[in-house]
Every structure is written in structure tokens, then in C-alpha cells.
Symmetry: C2
Subunit: 420 residues, 2 copies
Amino acid sequence: MTLFRTPIPVEEAMDKIWKYKKDGQAEEINMEESIGRFLGEDLIATTDVPWFDKSPYDGFALRAEDTAEANSNNEIEIEVIDYIGAGAVSEKEVQPYQAIRIMTGAPIPKGCDAVMMLELVKEKERDNKQYIRIKRKLEKGDNISFQGEDIKKGKVLVKKGTKINPGIYGLLATFGYHKVKVMKKPIIGVFATGNELLDIDEALVPGKIRNSNSYTLCAQIERSGAEARYLGKVSDTYDATYEALKKAMNEVDIVVTTGGVSVGDFDYIPKVYEKLRVEVLCNKIAMRPGSVTTIAQLNGKLLYGLSGNPSACYVGFELYLRPIIRYLLGSEYPFLKKIRAILHADFKKANPFTRFVRSKLVLQGTKVLVEPVGLDKSGAISSLAFADCLMVLPGGTRGYEKGMEVDVLLLEEQTGSEHK
Amino acid sequence: MTLFRTPIPVEEAMDKIWKYKKDGQAEEINMEESIGRFLGEDLIATTDVPWFDKSPYDGFALRAEDTAEANSNNEIEIEVIDYIGAGAVSEKEVQPYQAIRIMTGAPIPKGCDAVMMLELVKEKERDNKQYIRIKRKLEKGDNISFQGEDIKKGKVLVKKGTKINPGIYGLLATFGYHKVKVMKKPIIGVFATGNELLDIDEALVPGKIRNSNSYTLCAQIERSGAEARYLGKVSDTYDATYEALKKAMNEVDIVVTTGGVSVGDFDYIPKVYEKLRVEVLCNKIAMRPGSVTTIAQLNGKLLYGLSGNPSACYVGFELYLRPIIRYLLGSEYPFLKKIRAILHADFKKANPFTRFVRSKLVLQGTKVLVEPVGLDKSGAISSLAFADCLMVLPGGTRGYEKGMEVDVLLLEEQTGSEHK
């Protein structure tokens, strides 16, 4: 089979794929299972926080005006008429020169408008009554956490599609979301193709290597927030591949294959796509690695034919599939976060295609630097272990030099970018 | 109970705790369950990668010297004597002006020292024999991926204690580590204390709030790589707290309580610690928030009495417990990664104690900026949802201004720092 392939720019490939993005669905789960999931609706404050005026310290709630004359030479005596711990409420209302002993977190009693810290008073008992002596003046409002000062009721605190981190998890608890709407995890089916592939528990034999792409890919899928379903290895035959893909198309949300998309004689994916009557969106992208990345759609369902080369497969996933997954997970920022950085090493290889170099971000002094890691070949695997970003080097006839400014896509960052 | 407390510097507190760090243990699990776990031993290359000279392209393996005279005006004809796909090995050895058709990933056949790409030749058949015609000169070694060019056998690729990311997971597959040694997850028991606390599914009643600290803390524990075991809420009574802590000490690796460590009348933790006969390592640290953080040890086992204030609890965990967990997980870089950044907003509040401000890192242009998020009060919860770092502002009488350089501790970064 001969296939004429014209490379299209990275942005054009993304535009074609982006037409087939879909809204994901939400599901309700127990809050305890929601860490690391993506919010299925905006997180809205169901109350003010704090939801009543409270004391941030252990001390005495009182009327600030009663302390007006207090100073180091003039102690003011105030009677303590009640005693409340956190979680309790005083039924009493203070009158002039009265106070209520109050613990951290307890509501400010009626009539009080300031809190004197425990450490700053002298306590004494007289005639079976409790008194404190104060040497310091308080202003109205001193040492009170006011209702709503942190959060106002009704405020949208966190947008749908945001990954639930420890702080967000705490907000869910605060507002009593013991059932949480999270986005359903899309299920991504992964096939490995290639007669050269051994299982991970097989010994090496001449000409063969162990399957690693599918595993890396499954971990990338999990990192993106979706569920990876490894569907096994199909052999390099047309029929086996066709049957396997056809079945998978009905069982998962998106089907991914690794390998078999090149122009070689054993590369059956294009032929299988033809028999499946899919619409091929791209089969050659002007990028390195991963130019053979082939992406198709059938009845709105996407199929990804990623390269069999480890680095090419890795990059192809992050550029073209991760945004689709994050969109399904409700994110307004589905693309890898893009930042600028200073190239920290020469990169002399010129290339007509845009190059995505597996790299490491270095925050040095207060500067953002980036440097390539490991071997920059599409077949390399060592670089993938240490890369936390992809450096974007536009195609051209010249190489790049240390000190130049470049775009960088962050792989581990969760907030993402709005624009591809 | 009156307790005299002298604040000690943050570094001194850490030094005292650090004496009780422990080496964790490794366990063997199936590779498929190892994503996100921490390596229990160095990951060593069991073979070269590639482990044989291979073709990175679909094409023809041949002898470079046979192409010496080829150019656009002089086509060289070469006979194709065999045909190998990936995973196969040719038994033949090429002689002068012979080639073997070879697919991506297949081993370079005997006698060949270069590969001509498929797209660059014309194929023809004559007398039942296959030929290619070549118009381009190749150098010895052209288009060959050499054995070991990516990774050399025996090399330590990834150190023990490193979190398994997609790339590392792929390395495990490549080297056939279908059983992987990972660090056992330490089990961290979490208690909430405080009569003001409601469960997350309870309606608010006057003076009470829902328990959020324990949940945030559990998520922080999971983020750090340990297993969180929520042990429930103990009421603010001495006996209940004593019994609960005593029992927990025998069941988990580290016990954490939130709340009850202040100087208030319902703060039983110090008294319970006394009865447990623990050695208190610190009960007042010169920091904001979290100065009441109380840490003790009993027979080498650590107990953390974190503040009941949400932000103080959060910061106390990240500074003093996370490094202990990461050390248990085998990391050589157990501390939060420390970087420098430019303060992107005024921060005028002065304080005698070191302040850890919940902040957000902003990579802008090629500069590292940092700005506070939300309300900077120890009781705030909104700031925790958006913080991805802690800005470190040393104590002093003056505030800080936009443009000043400060230390920043990264919360989501996985590589960590060697030094506290």
C-alpha cells in the first residue's frame, strides 16, 4: 500500500482534532474517594467562612470601650461572667466591665466586640467571682475573625474541571460536600502493535525488545486523569489488527495504538483505518519526534495511531490526546501549560520541522531555564524518565544556542493553558 | 495546666525532629501497581538500550562503501537479497552491492553498516530479483541506532526513593522489571480533636464547624506518598484523647492530631503527651502560622500535634512531617524544593517570627515570581486551595515589598531538596 503523506503544521493537526472534542459527564461519588479527581461542577461556598464572628485566640471576649483607659500604669479590672469552649455558645450578654472567657474558634458572645489574649491578662478570684486585670487598650474588632472574612457564601471558589488537591478537598469538607460531583474518567484503550514486542516478563531474544510504549502511555493516561485500559498486543497482521480495533471502538472512549503507522511493510494501521472507514484527520505532522502520528475519527470517536518510537509516542500523546482528555474532564485549560524559558545549553541540530525536545526546567536564581535531557532521538527512552517539560524549537535551518528564549510545555503542571 | 513555652527557630525544630527520621522498608509488587509509588532500590539498566544495532527507519541495510559513487547524476543499483521486519533477524550476510530490506526496529544484518531510507530509493524487479537504485552517498553508520547509544548496561538510571513517573514506568517495562521493589507506604494516623467539629455530612449548628483539617491533612499525606488513616474525632476530654493516642501509637507509624495544642482550657494534647511519657521535642516554633506546633517522640516514634487552625495545620505538615515521610520513602531529597523568586506584590505585615505565606508561583517571561493567595490568616482555608508554594519571609520589624527576592518552597514539585 502506498500512501501519499503531506506533513501539516502542528497547529493545523490540533485544529482538526479539536473539532472532535467532547463534553464529559459528571458522576457523584463519596468525598473520601475524590482526591485527585476533577470537579464535575463549580465548587460553591454554601456558607460564609467563618460563618459566625469567632475568636482566633484563647482569651476573653469583652467590650473594647471598657479598655479605653488601660495602660501599663493603669490596670482595668473586668469581671468574667461565663466560660465557653469551641463548639459552645454563651447564652449571656456582657454588660460594662464584664467579659466572657473564650477559647479559639468559639463564637463572640453578645455585647462583645474584641478579644483580649489569655497571655496578656492577670486572672484573680474574689468573693467567688472571677476577674481579669488588663493593662492594654483594645480597639473595636481587635482579635475577631469576622463572618465571611475568608469566604463569602455563594462565591464560586473552584471551577469545574479542576483537579482536587488537598486544599480543595478541605473546602469540600468545610462546605459539607460529603457527596461530590466529579467528572467521569474517560476510558482510553491502548494497543501495542509490532512483532518485535515481548511481554515485560519475557526474556530477550534476538531482534526483539520488551513492550514499553504501552506502559509509558498507560501511565501518561493516568497522569492526565483518564483511565487506561491496556488491551494487549496485536500482531502485525492486517486481520488481527482490524478485529481488535473494531471491537475496542465499541468498548472504550478513545482507542490508541502504538506502532504500525509508518510507511513500512508491516505497518497495517493505515490499511486497517481504511477498512474501518474512518476519516483520517492527519497522518503526517511537521514535528519531531512523531511526524507519523496518525489521528482519525469514526462517528465522532477519535482513534490515535501513535508512533512506535518511544519518544515520538510520548510526545504525540501529550500534544494531541491529553488536551482531549482534559476537555472531557471539564477543564477550561486543557492544554499543557506553556511558559517561556532561557535555553541553558546549545542545541545545534537544525530541522525543517518543529522539534519537541524532552527537557528539564531549571529554576535558577529567579530565572527560568530549560535544558534537554538525555538522547534526543525518537527512539530514546532514557530522556522520558527525567523530562518534566517539552522544549518547543520551531523548524528552521539553524540550530539554537544557549541564552536564546524558547517556549516550554510543562508536563507535570496541573493548571494547564487555555490555548494550544 | 500551665506550660511555659519558649519559641525555637524553625531550623532548630527541624534538627530536633530529624534525629528521629527512619529508613523505610521496601516491598515487591507487580509493576502494574507501581505508578506513583517510590522506587525501593536503584533502577539499573539490565541491558544496553538499544541492545543491538538497529534501524531507526524503514529502508535498506547495505554497505556504505557501495554508495560512494552515488549522486544525482549517477544511480547505483543494489540487489535486495532479504527482507526483515521488526522482531525478525536476517540469516544472510550482504556481499558487495547487496542490501536487505529492513523495517524500523529490526537488527542491522551482518555485513551492513548503513541504512538508506525507503523514501529515497527507486525499487525495481528484474529476472525475479529485487533491486534498488540509489542516488545518494551514505557514510558508515548513517541511519543506525547503535547498541547502547541511549543507555549502557549496568548504569544506575534512577535512584531509590524516586517517584515512578510515566518515563520511569516505561524503563521498568523495558528492563523487564515485572516485579518492582517499591518503598512501603508509611501509615500516618490522623485524629481530629475539638468539640466544635461536626462530621462532613452534618448540618451546621451554632458555634460549630465541619471538620476540614483532618481531610486536608489526609490529602497532604497521600500527596507526600504515605497512606493516611483517618482515626476519627476524639472529644476534648483528657481521658478519651489519652486512650485514643495510646492505641494509635501501636497501630500506625506516625500519629498526628490536629487541634488541642494551644494554651486553652480544652487543649488536652500537652497533658496527654505528659501521661504518655513522650519526650516533647518542641511545643513552640518561631513561625507563622503554626507557632503552637507540638512534636514529640516515644521510643523513636514521632507524634505530631498540629494546630487546629487550617493554614497552620497545613504548613506544619509540609515543613515537619512531609520530609520525615519522604525520608521513609527512601528519598535523598526529602525536603520541599526550595527556589528563589521575586515577590510580585507588597506584603506589609511585619512579624517577629518567620512567616510561611500560602502563595502561587508565577512564571512570567523568563522570570520566577511569587504572589500570596487569599487571606493570610492562620484560620484561612481559601488560600490552601490555590497555593502551590509557601513563600518564606524571615521575621523582622519591616514588611516586604514588590520586587524583593525571597525563598519559596514548592508544594507540588516531586524532586525535592536535599537541605531543609
